[in-house]
C-alpha cells in the first residue's frame, strides 16, 4: 500500500511514538525485576509483542505478491515472515503480559494508574499508525479519554484508601465499589456525550 509523500514524516513520528510507548510500558511494568509467578515468561512475551508490533508497523507498506509459488526460498520465507507478523495479535499479547508483570509487583496504585495511561496511549498510537489517520482523528474522543483518565485516577485513589477493616472482605468491598463506579460511568456517560 503506497502513501503520499507529505504524510510520511508524520506517519513515521506516530509509529515511533507507538514503539516508544510500548517500550516505556514494558520497562515501567518490569522494573524492578521479579522472579515469581511466570514474570520472566511474561517479560519475554511483552518484549516479543512490542518488538513484533513495531516490526509490523514498520513493514506495513511492504507489498506482498499474489502468488509465491515460483519465488525463491529466501523470498518465500520473507513473505511468510511478514504474513505471520500481520496475522498474530502482538499488541494484545503484550498488553496481557504487561498487566501480568504489573500485578507481580507490590507497586503503589498510582504506579498502576500511570501504567494504564501509558498502555491506553500505546494502543491509540498503534491504532493511528496502522490506520494512517492523523492525531486529529482522536479529537471526538477527547472528552471520553478525559473521563477515562478521571476514572483511572479514581481507581488509583480507591486503591490508596486505607481499608475500613482487616481481612479479605474489606479488600473485596473496595474492589466491588470501584468496579461498580466504573460500570456506572460506562453506562451513563456515553449517553451524555
Amino acid at each position: 500500500m503506497s502513501r503520499s509523500g507529505d504524510s510520511q514524516p508524520s506517519q513515521a513520528a506516530v509509529r515511533g511514538a507507538a514503539v516508544l510507548l510500548g517500550v516505556v510500558s514494558v520497562v515501567w511494568a518490569a522494573v524492578p525485576l521479579v522472579h515469581k509467578g511466570l514474570a520472566t515468561f511474561a517479560l519475554l512475551v511483552a518484549i516479543c509483542g512490542v518488538v513484533a508490533g513495531a516490526l509490523r508497523l514498520a513493514l506495513a507498506d511492504v507489498p506482498l505478491p499474489e502468488n509465491s509459488f515460483l519465488l525463491p526460498t529466501p523470498l518465500r520465507a520473507w513473505i511468510r515472515f511478514i504474513e505471520i507478523l500481520r496475522l498474530l495479535p502482538w499488541e494484545e499479547g503484550a498488553v496481557i503480559a504487561i498487566v501480568w508483570l504489573e500485578v507481580q509487583h507490590p507497586a503503589p496504585p498510582w504506579h498502576t494508574a500511570l501504567l494504564g495511561a501509558v498502555l491506553v496511549a500505546y494502543l491509540l498510537a498503534v491504532h493511528l499508525a496502522e490506520s494512517g489517520a492523523s492525531a486529529g482523528a482522536l479529537r471526538p474522543q477527547a472528552r471520553v479519554l478525559a473521563i477515562g483518565a478521571g476514572l483511572l485516577a479514581l481507581g488509583a485513589a480507591a486503591g490508596m484508601l486505607p481499608a475500613p477493616g482487616p481481612g479479605a472482605a474489606s479488600a473485596l468491598l473496595r474492589l466491588v465499589a470501584a468496579i461498580a463506579l466504573i460500570a456506572a460511568a460506562g453506562l451513563v456517560l456515553p449517553s451524555m456525550l
Binding site: 500500500m1 503506497s2 498502576t112 494504564g116 481507581g155 479488600a171 466504573i182 456515553p190 456525550l193
Partner: protein
C-alpha cells in the same frame, strides 16, 4: 495518506451495484477489549481496585463508541475511463460509494488490487467517498483490471465493514509498431484510391505529355510543350487506385520472451500494418491462422476497420482451432488480386504450406518474419548439433519461400516496420508471373 485526484461526482454515472457489507470489530476494538478484560480480571483476582481503574478508559471507549446501526449494503459506482486501450496506455477508474443518509457516520477507505498484467500508476489506496485510481495494462488481451476492497469505518473506528468490488474488464490492444510507408501492388484493382496506377486517369501525379485530341480539357494543355512542338500538347496524369490487403497473423507459435514473443510481434505488426494501409485508403482484412484453421475478417475501409481487425484477432486468442480452414476461405476473406502480408515466425510447417498454396493461387505475398528467439545454447554436443540442424531448417524454409517469389523480411519488433519493408515500398510489388 494517499490522496489520488478526486473525480467529478457528476462523472460517475456508471452502473451502480449494491454490495453486501461484512462487519466485524476492528483490531483497535479488540486491543481495547483485551486491555479492559485483563484489567478487570486482574482486579478481581488480586482484589486491587487500581486495576479496575486501569480497565476504565478502554471500557469507556468501547461503550461510547457504539455508534448508529450498521449498513447492510453499500452502493458502489465504478466507471473506467475507457473500455479499449492499447498496451501501456493509462486507464483511470473512478469509484464512488453511495452511503445515502449515513454518509457522515462512516469513513471509506479504498484499496486497489490490480489484476494480472495490470500495473497500478500512483497510489493503490485512497480515503473518501470518491476516489480515482489509474492503472495500465501491460500486455494485450482481455484484462481484468482487478478488485477493489472497500472498508467502511465508524467514527471511532471500532467496527469495520468490508466489501469487495470487481472492477470491469477492458480490451487491451497490442501497441501498434511504427509504419508509415506501404507496399503497393503493381496491378491495382479498378477502384478509386490513392495509389498512382500505371494507367492514365484523373489523378494528380504527372504521367506524361501527349498530343491534344478533341474532347481533352483545355486546362490540361501544356503550353510550353505545345509552343516547342508547334502542336497542342496536353498533360496526362496517373490514375489513382486502391488495393485489397489481407494481413495474416500466425497464432500457431508463441516463442520468445513474454512481451516480445513471436505472437506479440505478429499482433503488433498486424495492428501497425492495418493502420498504415487504412490511412492509405486501402481495404484491409485479416486472417488469424491457428492450428490449421482460421478466423477472418473481410477487407474494409476506414479507421474503425483497424479496431475491428484487432478485435477479430483478440477474439481468436483461444489457443484452439475455430472458424474455417484457410483452404476454404471465401472470396470475401481473400479477394483475388489482393496483397497478402503474413506475420509469422515460420515455425509451423502447415502454415508454410498454406503460404505456398496461396502463392500458387496467384496472390502477391510478403512475409514478415517475427521469429526473435532460438533454442537454448547448451554445451552438449547433441544439443549443439540439434541447434545447428534447426537453424539450417529455418534457413531452408525461408530460402524455399524466396524461391517461390515470396519475399521474407525479418523484423525484431523494435525498429519501425518501414525499415525491413523499405526494399518493397520504394516501387510497386510485382504480381506473380509478371516481369518488372
Amino acid at each position: 495518506m494517499s490522496s489520488p485526484v478526486r473525480p467529478n461526482d457528476q462523472a460517475l454515472r456508471g452502473p451502480a451495484a449494491g454490495i453486501e457489507v461484512r462487519w466485524r470489530s476492528s483490531r483497535h476494538a479488540r486491543r481495547l477489549l483485551t486491555l479492559a478484560l485483563a484489567g478487570v480480571f486482574v482486579a478481581t483476582l488480586a482484589r486491587r481496585p487500581e486495576f479496575a481503574g486501569l480497565a476504565a478508559p478502554a471500557l469507556l471507549l468501547l461503550a461510547a463508541g457504539q455508534g448508529p446501526g450498521r449498513l447492510a449494503r453499500v452502493v458502489v459506482k465504478v466507471r473506467p475511463s475507457a473500455g479499449r486501450v492499447f498496451e501501456g496506455e493509462v486507464v483511470a477508474v473512478d469509484v464512488a460509494a453511495d452511503l445515502g443518509s449515513r454518509a457522515a457516520d462512516f469513513a471509506v477507505r479504498w484499496t486497489l488490487h490490480p489484476g494480472r498484467e495490470v500495473d497500478p500508476v500512483g497510489a493503490t489506496a485512497a480515503d473518501g467517498r470518491t476516489a480515482r485510481f489509474t492503472v495500465t495494462p501491460q500486455h494485450w488481451g482481455r484484462r481484468e483490471l482487478g478488485t477493489l476492497d472497500v472498508v467502511l469505518r465508524d467514527r471511532w473506528r471500532l467496527t469495520e465493514g468490508h466489501a469487495t468490488v470487481t472492477l470491469p474488464r477492458v480490451d487491451c490492444y497490442p501497441a501498434p509498431a511504427q509504419q508509415r510507408t506501404v507496399v503497393v501492388l503493381r496491378r491495382l484493382a479498378n477502384r478509386l484510391g490513392e495509389h498512382p496506377a500505371r494507367t492514365a486517369g484523373e489523378g494528380i501525379e504527372f504521367a506524361g505529355v501527349r498530343e491534344y485530341v478533341p474532347g481533352d480539357r483545355q486546362r490540361s494543355i501544356n503550353w510550353p510543350a505545345s509552343t516547342r512542338r508547334g502542336r497542342l500538347q496536353v498533360n496526362t496524369f496517373a490514375a489513382e487506385r486502391s488495393q485489397d490487403v489481407v494481413l495474416i497473423a500466425d497464432a500457431t507459435s508463441d516463442v520468445g520472451e513474454p512481451g516480445s514473443s513471436a505472437l506479440d510481434l505478429a499482433l503488433r505488426g498486424v495492428a501497425a500494418a492495418a493502420r498504415a494501409y487504412t490511412e492509405a485508403r486501402d481495404r484491409v482484412g485479416v486472417v488469424t491462422y491457428q492450428w490449421g484453421a482460421a478466423s477472418w475478417l473481410a477487407p474494409g475501409l476506414g479507421r474503425r476497420q483497424v479496431y475491428r481487425i484487432i478485435d477479430s484477432m483478440l477474439a481468436s486468442d483461444t489457443g484452439w482451432a475455430r472458424g474455417a480452414s484457410v483452404y476454404r476461405l471465401p472470396r470475401a476473406a481473400l479477394p483475388p488480386g489482393a496483397l497478402v502480408v503474413a506475420f509469422s515466425p515460420l515455425l509451423n510447417q502447415r502454415f508454410v504450406e498454406t503460404l505456398r498454396e496461396l502463392r500458387e493461387r496467384g496472390f502477391t505475398m510478403l512475409v514478415v518474419d517475427v521469429l526473435n528467439a532460438e533454442p537454448p545454447n547448451r554445451p552438449r554436443v547433441a544439443d549443439r548439433l540439434a541447434r545447428r540442424i534447426w537453424r539450417m531448417e529455418q534457413d531452408a524454409i525461408r530460402f524455399s519461400l524466396r524461391e517461390l517469389g515470396i519475399p521474407v523480411v525479418p523484423w525484431d519488433g523494435e525498429q519501425p516496420l518501414d525499415l525491413p519493408l523499405a526494399g518493397y515500398t520504394r516501387r510497386p510489388l510485382a504480381a506473380p508471373g509478371t516481369r518488372r
